[in-house]
Structure formats: C-alpha cells, structure tokens
C-alpha cells in the first residue's frame, strides 16, 4: 500500500510543478544564452556571458520591449547543450540562441536546429564547417580557423626569423583542434614553411601534465611550435614550456588568443606567444578604449576577446531583431544576413553568402604590459592589423 501512495504522489507533484510555470509577465524579447560555466573553459564562458549582458544593458530595449536573457550552462558537453537549448526554446520561449564556446557543441546544436526552429548566433565557434551550414545558423565572434591560419602564416612570412623555423604542430583532440591544425599545415606548406610533424599530435583536453609532449618537442629539435589549444590552456602550456627551459629556444605560435586572466597567472613565462586574433586591449582606437573602460567599470576584470566577440555578436543579433521588426525566426535570419556593427575591433559584418562574419584582425605577441588602468602585467602587443579582405574567405 505504501508503494502505491509514494508513486502516485511523486507523479502528481511532477505534473503540478510543470504546469505552474506558464505564468505570463509583460512579455519581453527572450534570448537564450548558452555558455560553459563549468568544465575546462568555465572562465571563457563567464567572460562571454559578461559581454552579452553588457550588450543587453547598453541596448536597453528591442521593438520597445525589454530584453530578457536566459543563461544556461552547456558544461562543454554537446548532449547537455542540446537539452538546455530545448529547454530555452520550448519551456522559456526564447526567440533566438546566442553564445556557445566549443565547435563540438556548436555542431551538435546546428544539427538540431530544425527541431528548435530559432536562429542561433555563435560567438566563439571557430570551425570552418560553420560556413553556410544552415540558414538559421550564424557566426559573429572569434576568427574562423581559416582566417586565423591566414593571419598566422602572413605574420610568420613577414618576419624573417620566424620564416626559417621548423614548426611542431600540437592540437587539442576535438573538432576545432583538428580543423585549426590542418588549416595551418596546408597553408604553411603552400608558403614553404617547414612542418616537423604533418600528422599533427593530438592531446586530450583534460591534459594537465605536458611533460611528455614537451620532451617530444625537445627530442625533435624543432625551434618553433604551433599550438591549437583552448584559450585558458595556452598560458599553462607556455608556463610548463618555460619550466623546461624552452621559452627562449622554441617560439610558440597560437591558433587562438590566450585568455588575459590566465596570462596574468602565468606571468613572465607566457611572454613571446605570437598569433593572430580579433582583438586585445592593447588596440588603441577610440571605440576600443571606450569599450574597455566601460567593461572595466562594470566588471572590474581585464577585458578579454571572448567578452568582446560576445558583445559584438549580441549587438548584431539585437539590431537584426530590431531591423526584422518581429521575433519570427525567418525574419530575424533574413535581417541577420549582411548586418554589421562598429564595435571595439572595427566593423563586423555578417556575410549574406555564408552567414559568417568578416572583420579586421590584429597580429599580437605577448610581452610585459605598459602602464594600464587594469593593473595587467602581461599584454598582447599589437604588431600589425589585417583588413577583412586580406583574411577572406572571398564572397
């Protein structure tokens, strides 16, 4: 008898809880934010969330209605991200999804977008598979792998000392890492840059102790290493390289921009990381400086490129909804094609041809930071600025 009571009770409780959530407030424009708040990239996810929240606050209202952000933690796990997206769209009624850090999660969402039927704008997914993947899927964020590869190879060719080096390629073992590594190797071979291991090495994302990989690099006798690691892990790898005395001897070139907070933690050991990325707080333009100070006042943490991309992506999305005049998915998608926004790193335009952004970028190298309001010890010094056309892909 006791058993029957407990089971019917628990089912009743479930139904009551479910139905009680259909309360109707004055309906704001609901936007679903998917960022990793736990797991290896939690810091990057937090910075993305800050960028989007800052954009929402700055924008204020869309079509006269408030903006309501629903934030969910993807835990960098594709199955969890898909269920959270379903919750955001079906339960919370979000009209658009924004965010997503890793390519794996981005691709999983893209393959489920027909069920969700809402536009999805990624602000940190770099895989080249996103070009024209789906009419409802857009990218306005970090440079794609092909653009970064172009930036890095151009940067290497421009410096005679880097051009002669032989590069050892080491990537994180997931979709983005393979894509970034392969892109660089193909482009480098075209330009005559020597690659030591064309079958690039793959390291698990959770790797903490890089000593076995570093001994391989030491054994190979190369004088350069090209790494495609998640932003937060780059300074950690650089620190262990310097622990093993390779900092001076082996030049590190990175496919992604290292996170500023991690650079601070790494300190001097992280000097000398070379690589193309969208933005760093060393960029000296009025728009960039204004945005940096606004971010610093609001969050009291060093402004990072993850925050900048998400801010710009959010602004593009909000403006597109404004332009579309409604929250209908197809209308927003139509408005997103070709929309552009002048943010911290110049004009960012979403190409109508392949739904992915085109924007200028900078070539940076980490070194001691000059006097700055953020108290940062390490900066990503801007060496050269690339125009959008230079990085491609052609339209």
């Amino acid at each position: 008898m006791k058993k029957i009571v407990t089971i019917s009770l628990s089912l009743m409780m479930a139904f009551v809880l479910m139905s009680s959530q259909q309360v109707f407030a004055k309906d704001p424009v609901k936007i679903g934010v998917l960022v990793p708040l736990t797991g290896i990239v939690a810091q990057g996810g937090l910075e993305m969330k800050m960028g989007i929240e800052m954009a929402a606050e700055e924008k204020g209202t869309i079509l006269g209605r408030d903006i309501k952000l629903y934030v969910e933690d993807t835990q960098v796990k594709p199955p969890i991200a898909v269920s959270k997206a379903e919750k955001l769209v079906y339960k919370d009624g979000c009209k658009a999804l924004i965010g997503v850090f890793s390519s794996g999660v981005g691709l999983a969402l893209a393959s489920n977008i027909d069920k969700l039927k809402v536009p999805f704008l990624s602000t940190h997914v770099m895989t080249t598979e996103f070009y024209g993947i789906h009419p409802l899927v857009f990218r306005s964020g970090q440079l794609a792998n092909d653009q970064t590869a172009v930036g890095n190879v151009k940067g290497i060719m421009a410096r005679p000392d880097l051009k002669e080096k032989t590069y050892y390629v080491l990537v994180h073992d997931y979709a983005w890492g393979h894509d970034a590594g392969q892109r660089f190797i193909d482009l480098a071979k075209e330009n005559g840059i020597k690659i030591y291991n064309e079958e690039y090495d793959r390291a698990p994302i959770a790797t903490k102790d890089w000593s076995s990989y570093i001994s391989k690099i030491k054994a190979s006798g190369v004088d350069g290493v090209y790494i495609a690691f998640i932003t937060n892990v780059i300074p950690v790898f650089a620190k262990q390289m310097s622990d093993f005395g390779l900092q001076g001897k082996v030049k590190t070139i990175s496919a992604a921009a290292p996170g500023p907070l991690e650079l601070e933690a790494g300190g001097e050991a992280c000097f000398g990381i070379f690589g193309a990325s969208d933005w760093s707080w060393d960029v000296d333009t009025p728009a960039s400086n204004k945005w940096e100070m606004a971010f610093w006042e609001k969050y009291k943490t060093i402004p990072s490129d993850a925050a900048a991309h998400s801010y710009v992506g959010a602004m593009n999305l909000f403006n597109a909804i404004e332009k579309a005049g409604s929250t209908d998915a197809q209308a927003i998608a139509q408005a997103l094609k070709g929309i552009s926004f002048d943010g911290p790193y110049g004009n960012v335009r979403i190409s109508a041809k392949d739904n992915c952004m085109r924007n200028s970028a900078v070539l940076t190298e980490t070194m001691a930071a000059p006097e700055n309001p953020f108290g940062a010890k390490v900066t990503m010094k801007v060496l050269h600025t690339f125009t959008a056309e230079e990085l491609g892909p052609p339209e």
């Binding site: 199955p79 269920s83 079906y90 027909d114």
Partner: protein, 331 residues
C-alpha cells in the same frame, strides 16, 4: 491457503488496486503529449523514460543479482554508437534493422567482458566494470575517424518509424519518439518483471542472497551470473538505441564514469530491488539535476549535499525496498 501448488510469501492483497495504479500511470503517460503541447516536457519525459530503462537494467544486476556496476551506461553508449554508425554508413532508413544490429553488436561485446567479469564478485566486480568502462570510453574518445571523438557522432539521419510496413511517423518529431519510447519501455518493463518472477529470476535472487550456498545447492553460479549480466546489458543496449533515436546524437560524455555514477544514484534513489523504483529514481534524479543546474552556477555543491543527505537519512530510497542489500551490510 497451502494448496500444494501455491507459493507462500507473495502477497496477493491489493492486487486489483496495483493493476489499476499501473493502468492509470500508463494512460496518463500515453495521453500527456496530446494534453500539453509543451515540447520541452515531452522530450524531458522521454529522456526520463530512457534513463529509467537503463536504471532498471542496472537494478536487474544490482538489486536482483547483487552485482554492483559503476559504469553500466557503457553498454548503452556502445549500442547508441552502433545504431548511429549503422544508420549513417549502411542504410539511413531501416530503423528496426539498425536497432537490432546495435543490440546484437553490444551483446557480442558484453559477452566476453561478462565472461571475465563473473570470475569476480563484490568490490572486485565493481572496480572491473570501472576498468572496462573507462577502456571503452577512452577507445570511443580516441577513435576520431569513426566515432568523431569528443564531438560525438555527427550527421545522424532521422529514419521513419514503420511497423510491418505501416508508417507510424518520422523519428524527427518528438511526439512520435515519445510514444515509440513509451511502448518499447513498457514492453521491456513487463518482460523484465516476468523474467524476475520466473525460475531464472529465483536463481538470480539466490545468488544475490548467498553466492557460496547457491553453488552448494547445485547452481552453476558463474553461468547464471553471466546470463544475468547479459540480460542487464541487452536492456541497457535497448536504452542506447532509444537514446540515439531520441537525441539524434551520442558523445563520449554519455559513456563517462560521471554519467555511470549518476545511473547508480538513480537506482539507489528509487530503492534497489524494485523495478518500478528504478523508474521513480530516474524521474526524480533527472528532474532535480535539470532543475538545480538552471538555478545556480554552483549546482555541484547542491547536488553533492543532496546525495550526502540521501545516503545518510534515506538509505532505502523512496520505494523502501533497499534492504535487499542486507547481504553487504556487515552488522
């Protein structure tokens, strides 16, 4: 009362009431997708049913044969990958053939593993499941060319659900998947209940109660432990086939040690030794995990406290039959 063929100890009281409760629950579940068109709850309940089936398969092992498995979700994952690869590479339309191939493949994998597993018992058995589970997890994670590594299987087609040529609907629509899952899970539930109450089930319970004595009563303990293991793995692989049809995606994180312990908690939450308890445990665990993680960034703290509270103050789980586990208790 003691006619020569009746078996004492099986309470016949409230039998009609039990049947009524079961029918009530099944009907309400069957009608739910038509009552509320909120697709989030439809897919949430589908996920709960799938994990309920997986928890029940673990309960066949833990609650009825007394064998603790840390990573029973490994065999769900293997079957999901097998079904997915079959649909992607061999034939994107034949749903039943893919599921059948998946279950058969998983059984072929589970058999040799089971042969090694049943040579041990108690904690050694549990740690061995962890070792094999982590081995399959690492293989799936590293075999990038076939399994897509950390990003999981991409490009899953959505075959139509057809029964003897009768077209029921495409598997991309959540309501069809919900009903398909409900029927398959209900069939598995009643089949397993039948098996548990059969002479074979009695042998499993004897092994759980006292493995040593069982071999001295003429039971070939290793063979029956292996059969119990195969039954549990086949049920888990069915859950795997349902999972990939529902989710359209499978990744290594579903096969991880972290998820494996989650399934174990569902069984403990629902109370070991009761098949429907496993379903209750799955329903409650998934609802709480989903609910807490949206509430706060630090959901791990609360999930940890919840588990500690559960083990300290409610060891027998909600269904109150956990004391089947006396055998392990040292008192």
């Amino acid at each position: 009362m003691n006619s020569t063929t009746s078996i004492p100890g099986i309470s016949k009281r409230f039998y009609p009431l039990k049947i009524f409760a079961v029918i009530l629950i099944l009907c309400s579940l069957a009608l739910f997708p038509f009552i509320s068109d909120n697709r989030f709850y439809i897919s949430l309940i589908t996920e709960m049913m799938i994990y309920g089936l997986l928890a029940m398969s673990l309960d066949v092992l833990l609650g009825y044969t007394g064998l603790l498995s840390f990573m029973h979700n490994t065999y769900m994952g293997i079957c999901a990958y097998a079904v997915g690869l079959f649909l992607i590479h061999i034939s994107p339309t034949s749903l039943w053939l893919a599921c059948f191939a998946g279950v058969v493949f998983t059984s072929l994998v589970a058999l040799p593993v089971g042969w090694v597993q049943v040579r041990t018992g108690g904690l050694a058995f549990a740690l061995l499941t962890l070792a094999f589970g982590m081995m399959f997890y690492t293989i799936v994670w590293k075999w990038y060319a076939v399994t897509g590594g950390d990003d999981g299987l991409m490009g899953m087609p959505n075959p139509d659900i057809t029964l003897f040529g009768w077209h029921l609907g495409s598997s991309s629509d959540p309501v069809n998947i919900y009903l398909f899952t409900l029927t398959v899970v209900t069939i598995c539930f009643f089949l397993t209940r039948r098996i548990i109450n059969s002479p074979f089930g009695a042998v499993l319970e004897a092994i759980r109660e006292n493995e040593d004595r069982a071999s001295f009563v003429g039971i070939n303990v290793r063979r029956y432990k292996l059969l119990g293991w195969m039954l549990a793995c086949i049920l888990a692989s069915i859950a795997g086939a349902l999972f990939i049809l529902y989710k359209g995606y499978i990744g290594p994180s579903t096969m991880s040690a972290f998820a494996g312990a989650g399934v174990l908690m569902m069984v403990l939450l629902g109370g070991m030794g009761s098949l429907w308890g496993a379903f209750a445990g799955a329903f409650i665990f998934i609802y709480i995990q989903d609910y807490i993680s949206t509430m706060t960034e630090h959901w791990e703290i609360f999930l940890g406290l919840f588990v500690i509270f559960l083990v300290l103050f409610l060891p027998t789980g909600f269904a109150g039959l956990g004391d089947y586990f006396k055998r392990f208790r040292k008192a």
